[in-house]
C-alpha cells in the first residue's frame, strides 16, 4: 500500500483512487451522551471501507452523519474535495450517496419493481407538469429508467419476485431489495448499515458476493458497517475500528487485526 495521496493498488489488483469523502474531527452528542468523539477518517474512490466496533460504539451514528440523518456538533464532512454544508438526508441522496438501513426501510406496500424504481427518482429530470400529462418526454424517461432498473434486478437475481409486494418477502430477500434500491440510484458512495445482520450463512455468502460484485462491476465506492468480523476482514480494503465513540484503529484488515488496542477492545484478549 504505497503512495497514499493518489491511491493504491489492492492485493487483488483493483485500483483505488484518491480521497472521495473525508470526515474531519467529527463529534456528535445527544444531550449529555457523546456518541462520536473527535473522529477523522477518509473514504477513497473505489474502495470497500468498513466501520466496525462493538455494540454502542457509534458506528450507525457515523453512517447517519455521512447520510445526513444526524448533524454533528463539531467537525466537517468533505465530499469530492469540498466542505459539505449542513444537509437534509434527501439532499445528501441527491448528491449521489445511497444507503440501506440496519432494520430495513423498504416501502412495504409497493412491489419490488416499484421499490427499486424509487431509487431512480434522483435521476428523473422531467418536471411535474410533464409527468402529470404523461406524454412524450415523461414516458420516454420512464422507459429508459425502467431498463436500468431491470438490469439491477437481474444483477441481484431478484427477477422472480419483481411484482411481489415487498411486505410478503422473507428477511434475506428484503435486504437484497433494499440493496437494489440503493444501487438503482447509481450512487457514487454506497452506505450499507449491517448488510448481513440477522442472515444465515448462505444468505451472508450471497450478500458478500453481491457487495464484491457491485464494487467490481460498477466501481462503486462502498462504506459498510458490520458486526461479523470474519466477513468484514474478507470484504474490505480498509477498516476503521470504533469503541465507545472513539476511533481505536484504522488500516488494512491485517493491520487492524494486529493492532493491540483493537485486540484488547474488540477482538478480545480471551483468545490468547
Amino acid at each position: 500500500m504505497k503512495d497514499m495521496a493518489d491511491g493504491y493498488i489492492t492485493e487483488d489488483g483493483r485500483k483505488i483512487g484518491g480521497v472521495m469523502m473525508e470526515m474531519k474531527n467529527i463529534t456528535l452528542r445527544f444531550g449529555g451522551v457523546v456518541a462520536i468523539k473527535d473522529i477523522s477518517f477518509d473514504i477513497r474512490e473505489g474502495e470497500i471501507r468498513a466501520i466496525i466496533g462493538p455494540n454502542g460504539a457509534g458506528k450507525s451514528s457515523m453512517l447517519n452523519v455521512i447520510s445526513g440523518f444526524y448533524h454533528p456538533q463539531e467537525g466537517e464532512v468533505w465530499f469530492h474535495g469540498k466542505k459539505r454544508p449542513s444537509m437534509k438526508p434527501y439532499q445528501v441522496a441527491q448528491q449521489g450517496i445511497a444507503r440501506t438501513f440496519q432494520n430495513i426501510a423498504l416501502f412495504e406496500g409497493m412491489t419490488v419493481l416499484d421499490n427499486v424504481m424509487t431509487g431512480r427518482l434522483t435521476h428523473m429530470k422531467t418536471n411535474m407538469f410533464q409527468q402529470a400529462i404523461w406524454w412524450g418526454k415523461a414516458q420516454a424517461e420512464e422507459t429508459a429508467q425502467r431498463e436500468k432498473v431491470e438490469k439491477i434486478i437481474d444483477f441481484l437475481e431478484i427477477q422472480h419476485i419483481r411484482k411481489t409486494p415487498v411486505g410478503r418477502l422473507p428477511y434475506g430477500l428484503k435486504k437484497r431489495v433494499e440493496l437494489a434500491r440503493a444501487l438503482a440510484a447509481e450512487p457514487k458512495l454506497l452506505l450499507l448499515d449491517e448488510p448481513m445482520a440477522g442472515m444465515n450463512v448462505e444468505e451472508k455468502e450471497d450478500m458478500s458476493r453481491f457487495i464484491l460484485d457491485v464494487n467490481d462491476e460498477f466501481s462503486t465506492t462502498i462504506a459498510l458497517i458490520e458486526h461479523d468480523m470474519g466477513v468484514v476482514m474478507d470484504l474490505s480494503d480498509r477498516v476503521v475500528v470504533m469503541d465507545y465513540g472513539k476511533k481505536i484503529g484504522d488500516g488494512t484488515p491485517d493491520e487492524v487485526r494486529n493492532n493491540q488496542d483493537v485486540i484488547d477492545a474488540y477482538l478480545g484478549v480471551a483468545h490468547d
Partner: protein, 331 residues
C-alpha cells in the same frame, strides 16, 4: 307495478348521482390520509373556502371588504369587474396551492412524528381557522355559483325513457348537473389513480406514505410531497366545492357535508380511492332507497341518520371498510 319499479330505478339513479358528490369530498380525505396518515377534518371547509373564493373572484368581490371598511371607514365591496369562470378557477387553484404550502409550513412541518390524534386536532383547528378566514374574506351570505355548468333536468333522458312505463310515467328525472358531476368524478378518479401509480411524483407520494426514512434515503423531500398532497386535496376540494356550490349555492352549511364523508369513508375504507367512490355511491343510493321504501312508514327524514347507522354496522362487522387494508397485527 312497473311504474312503481321504474320509480324505484329513478330513486337509485338519483341516489347514485348524490353519492358521486359525497364521494368527491371523501376523495380529498383519502388522498391526505394515504399520503400522510392525517385525517384531515378541514377537507369540507376547504371545499367551502374554495367555492367562496371562486365566487368572490368571479364577481370581483374585494377580499376582506368588511375589515377594510371597518378600519379605514371606506365603503368598498366590489372592484366592479367580472372574471371569466375558467380564469377564476385557475386563480382559485393557485390560492389553494398557496394554502397547501402555508398549512405545511406553519402547521404540519412542526408536527412531524406526532401522534395521529394530535395531527387530527390540528386539522380541527385548521377547519375553524379556515371557516373564519372565509367569512372574513368573502362575507357569510349565501351566494350563487354559476360557472356555466348545465342545470335542470335532462329533457333528453326524460323523453327517451318515457316509453318504458305506462302513460303515467314521464321518464327518468335526472339533473344535468348531477350527470356532469358524475363524469367529472370519474375523470378525476382515473387521473388521480394514474398519477399516483405511474408518475414519479406519484411514486414518491406512495413512498412517503409508506416509510419516511426510506423516502428520505432515496432523495425525496418530505416537505415537497406534503405540499403536493395538500395541493391535490385542495384541487379535489375545489372540484367538490364547484359541484356542491352549483347545486345548492355556496353557503357555510357546505362544510357540514364533510361529515357525510365520514360514513362514506367507513364504508369504503380510509385508504382506498376506489373505496371512496363505491362508499359514496352506496351511501347515496342506500339513503334514497331507504327514504323511498321505509321512510314513509317511520315518518321520513331518514336521510339525516341513515348513513351513520350504516357506517356503524360496518364498524361492527368490517372495521377496515370494503376496500381498506386489512388490519393484521403480527405477534
Amino acid at each position: 307495478m312497473t311504474d312503481q319499479f321504474l320509480f324505484g330505478v329513478e330513486v337509485v339513479l338519483n341516489g347514485l348521482m348524490a353519492g358521486v358528490l359525497y364521494a368527491l369530498v371523501a376523495l380529498g380525505f383519502v388522498l391526505i390520509f394515504k399520503a400522510s396518515g392525517i385525517f384531515n377534518y378541514a377537507q369540507g371547509v376547504m371545499a367551502l373556502f374554495a367555492a367562496l373564493t371562486l365566487v368572490g373572484i368571479m364577481e370581483g368581490q374585494v377580499p376582506f371588504a368588511h375589515l377594510i371598511n371597518a378600519i379605514f371607514g371606506t365603503d368598498v365591496h366590489y372592484f366592479g369587474w367580472n372574471v371569466p369562470a375558467l380564469a377564476a378557477i385557475l386563480l382559485t387553484m393557485i390560492l389553494m396551492v398557496f394554502f397547501a404550502w402555508a398549512v405545511n409550513h406553519f402547521v404540519m412541518r412542526h408536527l412531524v412524528n406526532q401522534e395521529p390524534i394530535i395531527l387530527f386536532m390540528a386539522t380541527i383547528g385548521l377547519a375553524y381557522f379556515l371557516e373564519g378566514v372565509g367569512d372574513l374574506m368573502w362575507g357569510s351570505e349565501i351566494k350563487k355559483l354559476d360557472v356555466g355548468l348545465p342545470q335542470g333536468a335532462s329533457i333528453w333522458v326524460e323523453e327517451n325513457t318515457a316509453f318504458l312505463g305506462s302513460d303515467n310515467f314521464f321518464g327518468f328525472f335526472i339533473d344535468k348537473l348531477d350527470m356532469v358531476a358524475a363524469l367529472v368524478a370519474a375523470v378525476l378518479v382515473i387521473a388521480l389513480v394514474a398519477f399516483a401509480q405511474y408518475t414519479k411524483q406519484g411514486r414518491a407520494m406512495r413512498a412517503v406514505a409508506d416509510d419516511h426514512q426510506a423516502a428520505l434515503s432515496v432523495g425525496i423531500s418530505l416537505n415537497f410531497i406534503w405540499v403536493l398532497v395538500w395541493s391535490l386535496a385542495g384541487f379535489v376540494a375545489l372540484v367538490a366545492g364547484i359541484m356542491w356550490g352549483a347545486k345548492s349555492g355556496v353557503q357555510f352549511s357546505l362544510s357540514l357535508i364533510a361529515l357525510k364523508a365520514l360514513p362514506v369513508l367507513m364504508l369504503g375504507g380510509f385508504t382506498s380511492i376506489p373505496g371512496a367512490i363505491v362508499g359514496g355511491l352506496i351511501i347515496g343510493v342506500g339513503e334514497k332507497l331507504f327514504e323511498f321504501t321505509i321512510g314513509p312508514m317511520i315518518g321520513g327524514a331518514t336521510e339525516n341518520w341513515f348513513a351513520y347507522v350504516l357506517a356503524l354496522l360496518f364498524l361492527v362487522f368490517r372495521p377496515q371498510g370494503l376496500f381498506g387494508e386489512k388490519i393484521i397485527e403480527r405477534v
